[in-house]
C-alpha cells in the first residue's frame, strides 16, 4: 500500500536546538522548513506516522521509545525515562514532538546493506530522514568533492519531480564515496510507493550550509 504523504527532512543533529547550542538560531530557516513539511504532512490526519532513517543495523521501534542525543554529549532536559531511539530516528521523533503529534507512530531503521523495505498503509504518513552528500565544501565532513553538487542536484530533481523510480537509479558506489547516507531511506520510500504515482511533489529547501546536502520536500500520493 502507498502512504498518503511523505515528508523528507535532513538527518542533521544540529536541527535540534539543544544540540546546536548557541548557534541554533542560524539554522532557523532549515528547522522551520522541516517543521512546516512535517506539519503539512500531518494535515492528512494519518492513522500512524512511520519515521524511517539510515542506521548501522536495521531494526524497528515502537512509540514507547523517544529521542535522545546523549551520545553527542547533550543531556535531555527534563530527562525522559523512555528508552532511546538510534539518533537518526530520534530526529524524526523530535520533529513529531515539536509538531505536537500525539497519534500513533513507529520507527524503522534501514541499513546500507539491507534490502530497502518499508511497510505502510494508505493511512500512513512517512517522515523520511535522509541527507545527500557530505562533500560539498572544503570544510565539509568529507572535504570537497566536485562531483557532490551534481549528485545532490540530481536528488533534488527526483524530489521536485516526485520521481520515486529515480531513487533506484542512484549510483551507490558514488553515493558511498560522497558520504551520502540517505540512499537506503530514499529507496525504502520508493519501495513503499510500490510504483504508485506521486500526485504532487514540492521541494521546500535544498541547501548545504555546512557542506552536507540537506533536502526538505513533500510528496502527496
Amino acid at each position: 500500500m502507498t502512504p498518503t504523504v511523505v515528508a523528507f527532512v535532513p538527518s542533521a543533529p544540529l536541527l535540534v536546538p539543544p544540540v546546536a547550542g548557541g548557534s541554533a538560531s542560524l539554522d532557523n530557516d532549515l528547522r522551520l522548513a522541516c517543521l512546516d513539511a512535517v506539519s503539512r504532512a500531518l494535515e492528512s490526519d494519518p492513522d500512524e506516522v512511520v519515521v524511517v532513517a539510515a542506521i548501522s543495523t536495521a531494526g524497528s521501534w515502537d512509540d514507547g521509545h523517544t529521542w535522545d542525543f546523549a551520545g553527542f554529549g547533550v543531556r535531555r532536559r527534563p530527562a525522559d525515562e523512555r528508552p532511546s531511539l538510534p539518533w537518526p530516528l530520534g530526529i524524526g521523533a523530535w520533529l513529531l514532538d515539536e509538531c505536537g503529534w500525539s497519534g500513533g507512530r513507529r520507527y524503522v531503521g534501514v541499513g546500507d546493506d539491507d534490502e530497502p523495505a518499508l511497510e505502510v498503509t494508505d493511512r500512513s504518513v512517512v517522515v523520511a530522514v535522509a541527507d545527500g552528500t557530505a562533500c560539498r565544501t572544503e570544510r565539509a565532513p568529507g572535504h570537497l568533492d566536485p562531483r557532490a553538487e551534481e549528485f545532490d542536484d540530481a536528488i533534488a530533481d527526483v524530489l521536485t519531480g516526485g520521481d520515486a523510480a529515480g531513487f533506484a537509479d542512484i549510483d551507490q558506489p558514488l553515493a558511498r564515496e560522497l558520504l551520502c547516507s540517505g540512499v537506503p531511506v530514499w529507496q525504502s520510500v520508493a519501495v513503499a510507493a510500490g510504483g504508485s504515482a506521486v500526485a504532487r511533489a514540492e521541494l521546500l529547501t535544498h541547501v548545504a550550509p555546512y557542506g552536507v546536502g540537506y533536502f526538505v520536500a513533500l510528496w502527496w500520493f
Binding site: 547550542g21 546523549a70 553527542f72 554529549g73 539518533w87 557530505a134 565532513p141 568529507g142 572535504h143
Partner: protein
C-alpha cells in the same frame, strides 16, 4: 611539547614555519622559550592534498636532522602515523613517535621498540588519517577513550616499547565533537588514573573555538583555560603552539597544586 609544523597548510600557522630553515628557526625559538619536547610534523591533520611518504620525509627529515645537531638534549618527537616515516626519522635522531591518528599502523609500535623511542598512544575515534568526524556518537566517550588508550598502551608495551616511554593522549577533537572534547577535559583525571602519563593537545582547537565562537587566532585564552584545568587534573605533557604562555600557566598550576615553589619569595617576608 612545542608544535613545529613543517607544513604549508596547517590550520593555525598556515605555512609560517614551512621549509627547513623556517622550521629550524621555530625549533630554536621554542627551545629557547623552554619547551622540553619539540613535536615536528609534516602532514596537516585536516583533509587536503595528498602528502605521500616521500613528500612527508622531504619535509620533515632535514628538520629532524638539523634539530638533532642544534639541540642534542631536547626531546625530539615526530608526528606521523606511518611506520616507514617514523623509522627513517628515528634513525635521524627522533626520540618519540607521536602517533596522532591512534594506532592506524600497528607496526609503528614495532618501530618505536626497535629504536628505543617513546610512543604517544592516541584515541582518534578509529578515524582514518586526515578525515573529519561526522556525527560521531559515543555512549560514554570518557570510558571508551580510556579503555582504548589503555589497550593501545599495553599493546605498545607488549610490542617492546619501553614502558617509561609510553604516553596516552585522548586527542581532543579527533573523531569527536566539541562536547566530547569538553567531557574529556572535564574528566582528564579518569585518564590520569590509568597510571599512564597523559598528554593533551588542546592548542587553538575547534572545541575551544566553538565554546567561544572565535577563530584560531583568538583562541589563546580559551586554550590556556583548558590547559590549566587539564594540568590541575594531572595531565603531564601539553602540546602547544604558544610555549611561553603555556609554560606560565603550567608553573602557576603547579604552584597551586603545591608541586612547585615560588620563583620569588619576598612578599610580606622581608
Amino acid at each position: 611539547m612545542a608544535i613545529v609544523n613543517a607544513t604549508p597548510d596547517s590550520f593555525f600557522d598556515k605555512g609560517r614555519t614551512y621549509g627547513t630553515d623556517a622550521a629550524l628557526e621555530r625549533v630554536d625559538e621554542v627551545v629557547a622559550a623552554g619547551a622540553d619536547i619539540v613535536d615536528i610534523g609534516g602532514v596537516k591533520a585536516a583533509p587536503g592534498g595528498d602528502v605521500d611518504t616521500a613528500e612527508e620525509l622531504r619535509r620533515v627529515l632535514p628538520v629532524v636532522e638539523g634539530a638533532r645537531v642544534r639541540h642534542p638534549d631536547v626531546v625530539l618527537s615526530v608526528d606521523t602515523w606511518r611506520a616507514e616515516v617514523a623509522d627513517v626519522l628515528c634513525r635521524a635522531g627522533a626520540d618519540v613517535i607521536n602517533d596522532s591518528w591512534g594506532g592506524v599502523d600497528p607496526t609503528l609500535a614495532d618501530v618505536a621498540a626497535a629504536h628505543g623511542a617513546g610512543l604517544v598512544c592516541t584515541h582518534a575515534g578509529r578515524q582514518s588519517p586526515r578525515t573529519r568526524p561526522h556525527r560521531v556518537w559515543y555512549d560514554d566517550v570518557v570510558a571508551e577513550t580510556t579503555s582504548y588508550l589503555v589497550d593501545l598502551a599495553e599493546l605498545a608495551a607488549a610490542a617492546g616499547v619501553r614502558r617509561d616511554g609510553i604516553v596516552i593522549d585522548p586527542a581532543h577533537d579527533f573523531g569527536k565533537n566539541s562536547r566530547h572534547s569538553l567531557l574529556l577535559t572535564r574528566h582528564t583525571d579518569a585518564l590520569v588514573d590509568t597510571g599512564w602519563p597523559v598528554l593533551v593537545a588542546l592548542s587553538r582547537k575547534d572545541f575551544v573555538g566553538e565554546v567561544l565562537d572565535l577563530a584560531p587566532d583568538d583562541r589563546l585564552e580559551g586554550t590556556l583555560a583548558a590547559t590549566a584545568i587539564a594540568a590541575w587534573l594531572g595531565a603531564r605533557i601539553f602540546r602547544a603552539h604558544d610555549v611561553t604562555a603555556t609554560q606560565r600557566v603550567l608553573r602557576l598550576v603547579a604552584a597551586v597544586r603545591g608541586d612547585r615553589d615560588l620563583a620569588v619569595g619576598r612578599r610580606a617576608l622581608a
